[in-house]
């Protein structure tokens, strides 16, 4: 019997990741079809103030595991608490975001609970009581429909793939046992840039490739700033050492699905398409009219990116006022 949907929220220093709201919104829809309510589990330290926010996206109950030991994400501590909550509440479906944390936790939980799992889902549907996930394989060159059986079924959803829908839930906050036993992992240091838009969650991504000719990405950064987006790079730019590995968009880098993707000086190798072809609108700026990127881009400008990109920035600033 269905026992509803549990989403595992993700927060960093008191701020929920956007994908948490996407998971809640999708969870609400799935719970509506399968029956049962929508619960959200949030883990952390001093999360009392932020937890009620989850009710805005339909959570009927908010389970809060609040303990100093949970201040940082540590696989075994989070897995211990989450596994206990799943065993107590017996959800039919567990959702979380496909982030560094979500993928790590989901894989550990699936192995522990012997639960069906689908990673990086871009769509979910309920088909005669079963959960069917659509997920990219081969770097997005193929989409697989994967049927998940048993309980719980764990679906890890890709950021930016599903809509956020506000809907008020009853949302009472209930503390849950946050005892996490002792961890064999310890966090030594954290080096995090705060306030930077995460590439995979950005609504606009502006990427530079080999055509940038060097590590000076200021024109790309200025356009990204004007559009409120994040900066990405092609593999060749990363291999040249112009940009960090974390910025690489492509089959062996990050997969992004923004509303707008602007490719500057990127020829468009198949591996790069794999990382950005699910963007809603693609713009390419390249001086080579025969660059393969133009065969996939919605809008193309043939020209020198050092002349064109600053003009785009100027035009964006004008219309955005």
């Amino acid at each position: 019997m269905s026992n509803g949907v549990l989403i595992i929220a993700e927060q960093q220093d008191g701020v929920f990741r956007k994908v948490t709201f996407e998971a809640l919104s999708e969870g609400k829809r799935i719970a509506g079809e399968m029956g049962g309510g929508l619960k959200a589990l949030v883990l952390g330290s001093n999360i009392g103030e932020m937890a009620p926010e989850l009710a805005k996206y339909g959570a009927d109950a908010i389970l809060a595991a609040d303990a100093p030991a949970l201040a940082n994400y540590v696989t075994d501590l989070y897995a211990n608490v989450a596994a206990r909550v799943i065993e107590a509440h017996q959800p039919a479906v567990v959702l979380m975001g496909a982030t560094a944390q979500g993928r790590d936790l989901a894989a550990r939980l699936a192995a522990r609970l012997n639960a069906a799992i689908a990673m990086d889902c871009i769509a979910l549907k309920v088909d005669s009581g079963d959960l069917v996930a659509t997920r990219p394989m081969y770097g997005g060159k193929v989409l697989a429909e994967v049927g998940l059986s048993g309980a719980p079924r764990i679906a890890v959803i890709r950021p930016n793939a599903m809509d956020i829908t506000a809907s008020a839930g009853a949302g009472a906050v209930e503390p849950v046992d946050a005892t996490a036993e002792e961890s064999r992992l310890s966090v030594v240091e954290k080096h995090l840039e705060t306030g930077k838009t995460e590439l995979t969650e950005a609504d606009v991504v502006v990427s530079g490739g080999r055509g940038m000719g060097g590590a000076d990405y200021s024109i790309v950064e200025e356009l990204a700033d004007a559009l409120g987006g994040a900066v990405g790079a092609s593999r060749s730019a990363v291999d040249e050492g112009w940009r960090p590995h974390a910025d690489q968009v492509g089959q062996t880098g990050k997969v992004v699905s923004p509303s707008l993707y602007v490719a500057c000086g990127i020829s468009g190798a198949i591996q790069h398409f794999a990382g950005m072809s699910s963007s809603r609108v693609i713009v390419a700026v390249n001086k080579d009219p025969d660059a393969p990127i133009f065969t996939k881009a919605d809008y193309g400008i043939v020209g020198d990116l050092f002349e064109v990109v600053p003009e785009i920035t100027k035009a964006v600033k004008t219309v955005k006022g």
Binding site: A100, M137, Y138, V142, G147
Partner: protein
């Protein structure tokens, strides 16, 4: 330091992927097979650790079809410098999901000396991100995924793990499992003498029965129902104009009024 590296053979990332007639698998005839790129980082890191600490490196893979392709990848691992190779070869492997593969690999590792297990963060075919962490769970071992740097001292491994917006440094006692992230190292090329030497090294083969695993325990809970191609993108419009400024203005107008993304 005895190190186990989990490897898989995958289509090279430049491959065009076509769906086979059954609608459930891909056409394999025109595919060029290579070692999963994230596993190359894993083999390289293992060899570097052994060069410093001594010990052994064993590469392990699982395959259903007598492992012809998987053996090629194991030979690449040996040619790079691994000491030993093991192939879990059983028809039952074909039906496994990520958790099933993890169970088989864990069963194989359990009987081997191991201080450290290194796996790719994901294989670039299934893009599952499951096997590393699941092997560690089956062996009740700590794991750190997405590692770009590691240091081993006093029976512990200290790992730099990439997360959104930066890195987190974590420490775990050995034995532990780590998965690789791009940036960890630059994998070496195989040399001709290395390849010749690798041909002489034996690949130990294990069946399900050898590992004491029951095929019934491998029944997949996640099953592919259909494969389809993503919606095809076709080229759109080239924005014309007399000057870069004119083109840029026309583009922004189109993005605002037609595409409505600004």
């Amino acid at each position: 330091m005895d190190i186990i590296v989990l490897v898989k053979q995958v289509p090279a990332t430049e491959s065009l992927i076509e769906i086979a007639g059954d609608g459930l698998s891909i056409k394999t005839d025109a595919v060029k097979w290579v070692m999963n790129p994230y596993d190359e980082f894993a083999v390289e890191e293992a060899i570097r650790i052994r060069e410093k600490e001594g010990g052994s490196v064993t590469v392990i893979s699982a395959a259903s079809d007598a492992g012809v392709k998987a053996k090629e990848t194991l030979r690449v691992g040996l040619a790079m410098g691994a000491d030993k190779a093991m192939l879990i070869s059983d028809p039952a492997v074909a039906g496994c999901d990520g958790l099933g593969i993890a169970r088989l690999l864990a069963a194989a590792v359990k009987d081997l000396p191991h201080d450290l297990i290194i796996a790719g963060q994901r294989a670039v075919d299934d893009d599952n991100y499951i096997v590393g962490q699941a092997v560690a769970e089956n062996l009740k071992m700590p794991a750190v995924t997405l590692v770009v740097k590691e240091e081993i001292a006093d029976g512990k491994i200290r790992c730099h793990r990439t997360v959104e917006g930066g890195t987190v440094v974590l420490e775990a006692p050995l034995p532990a499992l780590i998965t690789t992230q791009r940036g960890l190292n630059e994998p070496r090329y195989t040399s001709l003498p290395g390849i010749m030497k690798a041909k002489k090294k034996p690949i130990e083969e294990k069946s399900l029965a050898d590992l004491g695993v029951d095929a019934a325990d491998l029944a997949p809970k996640a099953r592919i129902l259909a494969l389809k191609k993503p919606p095809d993108r076709t080229g759109g419009r080239i924005i014309e104009g007399e000057s870069p400024a004119e083109k840029a203005q026309a583009l922004v107008k189109a993005l605002r009024e037609e595409a409505k993304v600004i």
